[in-house]
């Protein structure tokens, strides 16, 4: 029991101190269902430095993001990673995400993903584990706009999925 306490202490110590400008680990993913296009449009906003850090640790430490001669492998790794960490089930079935691409604005990376051929959404379950493998304090905010309803929620370690039902 004592060991466990120390373990928990250690786990969280890195979250304590902040430098200025203070770091916080958060991403925002908007999920919008455009019925007339039968399309679920997803834009994930992730801090460039966090994602760069991740790609370096996970795949290739030579990667630098948002530079003119960015390595051509970046898109491949980004796609591979996002498809693994961002999982969606619609009407109880896992669906395929198409990676459209990414762009940069200031210190944010915008990743575009799409689910095609969605005729109706009765329920959607979103699992977002993005960056949790790097920062245990990472928080992933999801903003849904589905069937005319807006719904936001926060996913984090220990609470990585949310199921929304539309009736």
């Amino acid at each position: 029991m004592k060991n466990l306490k120390i373990a928990i202490l250690l786990l969280v110590i890195p979250a304590l101190a902040f430098t200025v400008p203070h770091k916080y680990y958060v991403s925002v993913t908007s999920v919008e269902y455009v019925k007339e296009k039968e399309s679920v449009q997803i834009i994930s906003r992730i801090f460039i430095d966090d994602f760069e850090n991740l790609l370096r640790k996970r795949y290739d430490d030579k990667i630098t993001l948002a530079i003119q001669d960015e390595l051509s492998t970046v898109n491949m790794y980004t796609e591979r990673y996002l498809k693994e960490k961002l999982q969606i089930e619609i009407n109880g079935k896992p669906v395929k995400l198409n990676f459209i691409g990414k762009e940069y604005e200031d210190d944010i990376m915008f990743c575009y993903l799409e689910i095609e051929g969605v005729k109706a959404i009765n329920s959607i379950e979103i699992t977002n584990k993005v960056l949790l493998d790097l920062f245990s304090e990472q928080e992933n905010i999801i903003k849904c706009k589905i069937n005319g309803k807006n719904k936001s929620f926060l996913l984090r370690e220990g609470n990585i999925s949310r199921l929304l039902n539309f009736h």
Binding site: L10, A17, F18, I100, F110, R156
Partner: protein, 768 residues
């Protein structure tokens, strides 16, 4: 008859009045208190008093305490330990008698029994890597708390004291009356933390390739807490996030480090000849006269040469600082050191940089210039920088400020390449941290209570300073850039935050520890709010005078939020209570749009509405007084002949009036409006803001109108304006230059623009 005519007129005006009365509800409504957005902030503000006046200035009884320090510090580089013996002389300038003193022990946040980890929300992980498992489960936690060895008075008698986490209460032998001083000493040591792996504002970075450390050391000594008229003793513990509240004082500090270390810190170096080599002294004299390019005091080669010949001897660096609220220093044998003079007012200030070789080539090119540029910009916006130097020290992942010295990130890769992000990240953090010399080091607000007071104000001036830097050093910009790419400041950059989920937004007037999205809350939003206030609401002339007044009133003093809010109004005659209330006390956002546009022409013929009113009152149309009628385009009274003609051409009544009442000279001067518009603006957002509207005419010209925020005072949802124009309006755009942080611009245009979504336009771009 005349009477009847007037009655009729008033009936017309009443029915056409601007107030769209609500339908009478079936039940009588309840009353309410004053919840007008323009209500003065009496409920939120503290009552002005002798300490702090209603104008926002220090009052006639304003006081502040003083804490003077004498410290002898010894760095044990081998064991990464810092020990010190300090004597604090505390002066009680308050009208109160003090029974005890509170001393802050910030390093105890890193003690084994720290409660900071216990307030973090966490969750079990399903799996861990062996490395993180070992770190997590198999090793002892780092013990970085203070070891307080003794607390004594000047006669060597032990003083009773009690430690409550990051605070220590020291009992006074006898109560300290107004004007009295009390001296006591503390002997202490602690283990210095690794600020790269453990994170933290202070600590060392270890370089395994040459087995050396670079130390950036701060909040390392027991520091007096603030006692003042608003908080009494500052009793909010250091949890790790909210920074510091510190009294001013004079510091005499002797720091003993390995003899081959280079050290710089808060204060004047009083034994330069003892610690500098002859060559360094010579270069230092050159730097005093160098205003364009820094002079290198310790070169990269000289720094590299020391890496493997570690001195076992020591040297003591002596620093003396007057009227500072804190003390920090950096020391290492790895440091390269350069300096350059910058003229501030009629005084020379030394801009200084210290960095390891891994900071180059970025640091030798830009750090010292960024320091110098920042001092100039901030001095213009506030007061002449009063200290004699400002140092930027390179430390990985750091951005942290202390008087005269700060730590900054920005490191090229191993081959010396860097991205724009790294470059501008480094420049911006230097500008930001050097800027903190003004807020909060000199304008000494309480960071523990109000993060935004220094971070928000500093982020605002940082934006001004970054734009200056881009102008003064165009070489610092990258290809294709015409201005410095500021990350914060422009209104549009805060839209995502302010338009975000209300569950994860707190008002700016919230203690930092309790906010979500700390960076946006305490830096981005207040910085942007002030930028909007300056550029869009008040105008730079009024704003800058008032902002400068605030800085000067509170320089070397302790302001509160009200002192800032009040001074900004007091010095500008600009009632801003509505702005402070909306932007600082709520999480409301800006959303203003065009709801409806109706186009009218002037006519001789009574329109349907007038006919109806006449009929209701049993009047003949011939009984009507001379009137100029408005006809809406497309209504049943409208005919195409009215189009394109002036009001005089369309209304003989008006023409006759003009002929009877205006001289030919006056007639030559009158306006000739042909088109009349009733524009209705809606405000789905809670914030009241000026309505900025661009009217574009058929001939391609356009003009921008600004309706003050007070236009919303009687209706918080919808207002309308009537425009008389000689030219036909073809489009109307609200906030055309995106200067109000309007979170939804889809309702900003008439005729409505159908904008492609961000997703669709990106997808199209990729497909092409």
């Amino acid at each position: 008859m005349i009477k009847l005519k007037y009655l009729f007129l008033s009936a017309v005006f009443l029915s056409a009045g601007a107030f769209a009365q609500k339908q009478e509800s079936p039940e009588k409504q309840q009353g309410h208190t004053n919840n007008n957005k323009f209500k003065q902030l009496y409920d939120e503000f503290s009552t002005p008093n002798m300490y702090r006046t209603a104008s926002g200035a220090p009052g006639s009884a304003y006081y502040q305490q003083q804490a003077d320090y004498k410290m002898d510090l010894v760095l044990d580089d081998t064991n990464a330990k810092l020990s010190g013996f300090e004597t604090i002389t505390y002066t009680n300038n308050s009208p109160d008698t003090l029974k005890y003193l509170w001393v802050q022990l910030d390093q105890n946040m890193r003690a084994k029994d720290s409660k900071t980890p216990l307030i973090q929300n966490d969750a079990a992980q399903p799996a861990a890597t062996p490395g993180s498992f070992a770190n997590t489960y198999l090793t002892e936690p780092f013990d970085g708390g203070f070891n307080i060895q003794e607390v004594k008075d000047t006669n060597g008698r032990a003083l009773q004291h009690m430690i409550n986490r990051t605070m220590m209460r020291v009992e006074l032998p006898k109560p300290l009356a107004t004007g009295d001083k009390f001296s006591f000493s503390i002997k202490w040591w602690y283990n210095i933390n690794d600020h790269v792996n453990g994170r933290g504002r202070s600590g060392y970075e270890y370089f395994p390739e040459d087995d050396n450390r670079a130390y950036v050391i701060a909040q390392f000594y027991p520091r007096m807490a603030v006692y003042n008229d608003v908080e009494g003793w500052q009793n909010s513990q250091f949890w790790g996030r909210d920074e510091f509240a510190l009294p001013f004082g004079n510091f005499e500090v002797n720091i003993t480090v390995p003899a081959d270390h280079i050290l710089d810190g808060t204060g004047k170096l009083t034994n330069r000849k003892e610690v500098y080599s002859k060559e360094m002294l010579k270069r230092y004299e050159q730097a005093k006269k160098a205003y364009d390019e820094p002079v290198v005091i310790v070169t990269q080669d000289e720094a590299i040469a020391k890496l493997n010949t570690k001195s076992t001897k020591t040297k003591t660096w002596k620093l003396y600082a007057e009227n500072v609220r804190d003390f920090g220093f950096a020391t290492s044998r790895r440091y390269i050191w350069d300096m350059m003079s910058v003229k501030i007012g009629d005084k020379d200030v030394m801009a200084v940089s210290m960095y390891g070789k891994e900071g180059n080539p970025l640091w030798e090119d830009w750090s010292t210039k960024a320091v110098a540029s920042t001092l100039k910009s901030y001095s213009r916006m506030t007061f002449d920088y009063p200290y004699h130097k400002a140092i930027s020290v390179h430390a990985k992942q750091q951005g942290m400020e202390y008087p005269m010295i700060c730590w900054n990130y920005g490191r090229p890769d191993a081959e010396g390449n860097y991205s724009d992000r790294t470059k501008f990240g480094m420049m911006s953090v230097i500008i930001h941290e050097v800027g903190h010399n003004f807020f909060p080091m000199i304008v000494n607000s309480d960071e523990r209570q109000w993060t935004w007071m220094d971070e928000g104000l500093n982020t605002f001036v940082q934006y001004v300073a970054e734009q200056d830097f881009g102008k003064w050093y165009p070489d610092a910009l990258s290809e294709g850039q015409t201005a410095y790419p500021s990350r914060r400041g422009p209104a549009a950059k805060i839209v995502n935050y302010m338009g975000g989920d209300q569950d994860f937004i707190a008002p700016i007037m919230t203690k930092g520890l309790n906010t979500y999205q700390f960076g946006n809350n305490a830096y981005g939003k207040p910085g942007t709010a002030l930028n909007i206030l300056r550029e869009t609401v008040m105008g730079p002339e009024l704003f800058d005078y008032a902002f400068k007044e605030y800085a000067n009133r509170w320089m070397f003093k302790h302001p509160t939020p009200e002192d800032f809010f009040r001074t900004m109004e007091d010095a500008s005659a600009f009632d801003l209570d509505w702005f402070w209330r909306g932007w600082f006390y709520t999480t409301d956002y800006v959303d203003i749009g065009v709801k409806d546009v109706k186009k009218y022409y002037v006519s001789n013929e009574p329109n349907a509405e007038i006919k109806k009113i006449a009929e209701q009152r049993g009047m003949k149309l011939s009984d009507l007084p001379p009137l100029v009628f408005f006809v809406e385009e497309g209504s049943e009274d409208f005919n195409n002949d009215l189009k394109g003609k002036t009001a005089l051409e369309n209304s003989s009544t008006l023409n006759e009036y003009i002929m009877d009442n205006f001289t030919p000279e006056e007639r030559a001067q009158i306006k000739e409006p042909k088109y009349f518009y009733n524009v209705t603006f809606e405000k789905p957002g809670g914030l009241v803001m000026p309505i900025i509207v661009e009217y574009t005419y058929a001939d391609g010209t356009s003009e921008i109108m600004k309706y003050p925020a007070q236009i919303w005072r009687l209706n918080d949802n919808e207002v309308s304006k009537v425009l008389a124009s000689e030219k036909e309006i073809v489009s109307i755009q609200v906030d055309p230059n995106l200067e109000t942080a309007d979170i939804d611009t889809s309702n900003n245009a008439w005729p409505k623009e159908v904008k492609e979504s961000k997703f669709d336009s990106f997808k199209k771009e990729v497909r092409n």
